[in-house]
């Protein structure tokens, strides 16, 4: 305990780097297996816009060159790798010639904000409910109401999003239908803007929370049942400790440990789930960016977004690896 040993840190950093490298490679290889030529697509789009394109061959060659597609594969790969590690993903083909990195930089804060908000809420609520389902002293109502609320867990996020949108935005008009902030407010560090962001983020966050908290609640319930039968919990009761103290310090404190691990592994999936929710609410995040890029076959953007998502997952696993020994004394910084 205390400090993190340097060898452990280096070890984890190497793992992190390798993960990122493999991910970056896969992201490069997979689109290249597709028969679609991005330059063709762009040309097609130009043609559709202008009716026809004069000296098409020349334009095509020029486009290929600007994407670096005229070079040998191996050169392309290492160039790509070097650029990617520096967060240079090239230019978007759909909103040519905007750099992918600036598209991502614009979208990332929104996604991170929405995700951190909804993930923290769902993790806290889910685990608390799971714990209370097991705790003997919970009010009866809790034990009846929670399993009923779990029904939502089986709904896909796209439906929960539409449902919430229909009820609270379209019918009740409590919340705006779409967007990340109001058209009338100027983005900046003002109260108006913050309120607008919260107001707009509420339904998207809720539609994620409502379909994901059950996962945590069910997991926590199982873990709590196991912990409840442990000798140390029985002894805690014999010790005459206060019930609430036993709940937090002896039960939840131990039951939560595997949930923290699951949390790190789930980050990637959570982002994936968020893609559709962002799309429904026209929320200007990575999810919407990715969705639109897929529709437009905008490979550089798809690659960039995928890379950032994998990077976020790898980073969160890395962080949990570092933190875990501090929350579970049986695990040491080793290997």
């Amino acid at each position: 305990m205390g400090r993190i040993p340097r060898s452990y840190l280096i070890n984890r950093l190497i793992t992190l780097f390798l993960t990122i490298l493999i991910a970056a490679t896969l992201i490069w290889v997979i689109p290249r297996l597709s028969p679609v030529d991005p330059a063709d697509i762009m040309l097609g789009r130009m043609a559709a816009g202008a009716g026809s394109v004069a000296n098409a061959d020349q334009v095509l060659a020029q486009l290929r060159e600007s994407f670096g597609l005229d070079q040998p594969m191996i050169v392309q790969y290492f160039k790509y790798l070097g650029n990617t590690l520096l967060f240079d993903f090239g230019l978007s083909t759909a909103s040519f010639p905007t750099p992918v990195s600036s598209l991502i930089a614009r979208a990332l804060p929104w996604t991170l904000g929405l995700m951190i908000l909804s993930v923290v809420i769902t993790f806290v609520i889910g685990n608390a409910l799971g714990a209370f389902m097991v705790w003997e002293r919970s009010p009866k109502l809790v034990k009846v109401a929670i399993p009923a609320a779990m029904v939502f867990t089986s709904i896909p996020p796209i439906l929960s999003g539409l449902l919430l949108m229909w009820i609270f935005a379209a019918q009740l008009r409590w919340f705006p239908l779409t967007g990340a902030y109001g058209l009338m407010v100027e983005p900046g560090w003002t109260w108006d803007f913050a309120l607008s962001v919260l107001h707009h983020g509420f339904l998207p966050a809720l539609s994620i929370v409502i379909v994901t908290f059950g996962f945590w609640a069910l997991g926590m319930r199982g873990l709590m049942i196991t912990v409840q039968g442990e000798d140390y919990v029985k002894l805690a009761e014999a010790k005459g400790l206060r019930p609430r103290y036993i709940l937090y310090r002896y039960m939840i404190r131990n039951a939560i440990l595997p949930q923290v691990t699951a949390f790190a592994l789930k980050i990637g999936l959570l982002i994936a789930g968020q893609v559709l929710v962002e799309r429904i609410f026209a929320y200007n995040g990575m999810g919407k960016l990715l969705y639109d890029a897929i529709l437009d076959q905008d490979f550089p953007v798809i690659q960039g977004v995928s890379y950032v998502i994998i990077l976020m997952t790898a980073l969160s696993v890395f962080l949990v690896d570092l933190i875990y020994p501090f929350i579970d004394p049986r695990i040491r910084h080793e290997g």
Partner: protein, 333 residues
């Protein structure tokens, strides 16, 4: 042992049953006994005879599917089974502590050893104990001070057991129940831990209920022995009386199975409990295996005083003591 002594713990008619789909298991059935000030009472019986269940009844810690069906447990005149929950919580540990059967898993893996002793002291006294008090407790049970900031997984089994003993004496309780506190340890460590327990007990003068399989160890550690068979207490007597002249046929079998008083050996009884615990025979609980069973054994057999200080639940106890009891007089039911 001749002067009249105060009763600390008075158990009367304690019955704890477990509900099963095919009926109640009568794990502890109508148990009554007294625990005197400063004495150690041994509770023996083969596995499944209801020893742990009886203690969980005394502690009022029976969990589903079990339930306390009847009885009273008076600690210094206060019936624990009738107390309000919050009052019961205050009595726990400050008056009645437990050294649990599974000491290996009885410590919270995410809390430092010292914190697990400190929390019970803080809860019941309202004050966080100084470091010195924890170290003093460690010293009493022969633990090194360096474990203060350790976690349970860093301790050996014997050390964990000692931590449990230190925890048990932290509030100077009136009664400590030790449920097979040593049986999970290897033989050498068992002996040392048992000695530690005896030393601490003598130093504090605390009353104790000690549960175990090991008749030899019992003989060295306890003042009186209560013998349980299939949920019933069949005999209670002073150690010397129990070993010299057991009055209940089952106690007699137990004693005979121990080669000598000084040699230690776990209970080894062939046969085990033969009847279905959900459906015990009418009358004496032991009649199906008793070598002296007679027609009158089909009547209920309450514990009764055979000699001063010796109680047995057998209608033929006097004959057995006199050595005149005839072998089995009834056919198997």
């Amino acid at each position: 042992m001749t002067e009249p002594r105060n009763v600390v713990l008075k158990v009367r008619g304690l019955s704890v049953f477990y509900a099963t789909p095919t009926g109640d298991v009568r794990a502890t059935d109508d148990a009554s006994f007294d625990l005197y000030e400063g004495e150690t009472l041994g509770l023996v019986g083969e596995s499944g005879s209801g020893k742990t269940t009886a203690t969980s009844g005394i502690l009022r810690m029976v969990s589903s599917p079990g339930r306390i069906v009847a009885g009273s447990v008076e600690l210094d005149g206060v019936d624990l089974l009738a107390l309000k929950e919050e009052d019961l919580r205050r009595q726990r540990w400050s008056k009645l502590a437990l050294i649990p059967q599974g000491a290996m898993n009885s410590l919270n893996p995410t809390m430092k050893i010292s914190a697990q002793i400190a929390d019970v002291i803080r809860t019941h006294t309202g004050k966080t104990p100084p470091r010195d008090r924890i170290l003093e407790l460690f010293q009493m049970v022969g633990l090194p001070g360096r474990i203060h900031d350790m976690y349970p997984h860093e301790l050996s089994g014997g050390m964990k057991q000692r931590v449990c003993i230190a925890m048990g004496i932290a509030l100077n309780p009136r009664v400590i129940i030790a449920d097979e506190a040593t049986s999970a340890l290897d033989v050498v460590v068992q002996r040392v831990v048992a000695q530690t327990m005896a030393k601490v007990r003598d130093a504090l003068g605390v009353s104790m209920i000690m549960i175990g399989h090991d008749m030899g160890l019992m003989a060295q550690m306890v003042d009186r022995i209560a013998v349980m068979y299939s949920g019933k207490i069949v005999e209670i007597a002073r150690v010397a009386d129990m070993f010299a002249r057991p009055a209940h046929p089952y106690s007699k079998i137990l004693i005979d199975s121990v080669p000598s008083l000084t040699q230690r050996q776990a209970l080894r009884i062939t046969g085990g409990i033969t009847h279905d615990p959900r459906n015990p025979p009418k009358g004496c609980i032991f009649q199906l295996r008793c070598p002296y069973a007679a027609p009158q054994c089909r009547e209920p057999q309450p514990l009764r005083e055979i000699n001063p200080g010796q109680l047995a639940a057998c209608c033929r106890a006097e004959e057995i003591l006199a050595g005149t009891a005839q072998a089995r007089e009834i056919a198997d039911a």
